[in-house]
Amino acid sequence: MTSTIEYLRNNYLRNDLLPSIFCPGCGNGQIINYVLHAIDELKIPKNNIVLVSGIGCSSRIPAYFDTDGIHTTHGRAIAFATGIKTTNPKLDVIVFTGDGDLAAIGLNHFLQAIRRNIDITVICINNENFGMTGGQASPTTPMGSFTATTPYQSIEHSFNLAFLAKTAGAPYVARWTTAHSREAINSIKKGLKKKGFSFIEMLSPCPVSGKRFKSSHEYINYYLNNSIKYSDKFRDETSSHLFSSLEECFITDHEGKIIIGEIVDIDKPDFHVLYKKLKEAAKNEFWKSRQ
């Protein structure tokens, strides 16, 4: 009898590419694990899946899946995905993106796809730095961090991507860390089922470039002990970590708790439904004008 994990690997992954190029303890592997569970539990046919990514360590994820996949250019994954999903709305399109790919160079496409409510699932592997290029600050790097480009500490505020997604109008938004395996799998499943844009932000270890900790288990430990569930009581929509008020990020040490949980879960017509209706209206008008 094959174990679940062996079955998942054999059934969904390109085994000849394993082990991955990811560093020991890298969270990208955990994301693969969680997405596989989600896909399998939902019984999504492999032929129906298209995985899209930009550039970065996390963007190398699709290569490992034995499905259609497209590793695009830095920051543009969601724009590619928009072309793919709109021309074949039946596909299950999942975007893998890093915090640099999504929140630095690619932020615009992210928010515009949310605005259009394109029915894709975007998973941001937020390791709070540019992993692939060697640990530079990203827009989600907590203020005060030492990185390769902030040798005297970062003085830039960071984005809370989940809250930006909410404000832009995403119907499903969740935020977890890789320590929250089951919750992450469930959110990915919900995201895949959601009609419309779904966004799952995953705080993820990068022990090699990010270097907050030297090894993954320290991250996992930190995540488990320093996260707090989102609720109306604990919301500060301007920071990726939790502060009871904006000022707190200046008076306390720079790291608050990590907000996790489901941030949005609403229903809202997606682009594809509306476009179909639009076409009907357009055709109707055409024939009327030709009468």
Binding site: I21, C23, P24, M132, V208
Partner: protein
């Protein structure tokens, strides 16, 4: 054909695993050569994908002052700090090339005439496993006189952060005095 004036060039390769200080030691050597009034050039294998696996760093030292061609086919001296890297790069050594190994980590045939330095054990004795790279460097300089010891010390002082200078100099001396 060589990569410059044939006769006065030495091609040295350091290799091992990430974290062993391969690049650092090669830079210290290259810099020392400069201080000696020679010319030097250092290149390394660099790849986003080569994390956690083997690392190599090549140094060319030349007496002439003209520009050097960075392409290397055969090497004169190999310094290997890990088995995997050793196995991989051994074929690149010229006939009669010199080979230095960390004998604590690399198994070789007893009869081989490699220069075997138990660098890890020696480093442990200095209470700092990390300096095994510099220990081998000491042995290398002693054996080859590639550059002057003074220049190495100078180079260490200019390369390594204040807190760690002393231990590295000690390591160099340990290697130099070993055998």
């Amino acid at each position: 054909m060589s990569s410059g004036k044939v006769d006065n060039e030495q091609k040295i390769r350091f290799c091992g695993l990430g974290g062993m200080g391969i690049i650092l030691v090669s830079v210290i050597l290259g810099k020392a050569a400069i201080y000696d009034g020679k010319n030097a050039l250092q290149t390394q294998s660099y790849g986003a994908e080569q994390r956690g696996t083997k690392v190599k760093s090549d140094v060319i030292i030349s007496d002439s002052n003209s520009i050097l061609c960075p392409i290397i086919d055969k090497i004169d001296i190999l310094i290997a700090l890990s088995q995997e890297a050793f196995d991989f790069y051994l074929p690149d050594v010229k006939k009669n090339g010199l080979i230095f190994i960390n004998s604590d980590l690399i198994d070789v045939n007893e009869n081989e005439t490699y220069v075997k330095i138990p660098a890890t054990s020696l480093a442990r004795k200095l209470d700092n496993e990390k300096v095994s790279n510099i220990i081998i460097l000491g042995a290398l300089i002693k054996k080859t006189n590639l550059v002057s010891s003074n220049s190495i010390i100078h180079s260490i002082n200019n390369t390594i952060t204040k807190n760690n200078r002393e231990i590295n100099i000690k390591a160099f001396e340990t290697g130099y005095n070993f055998s």
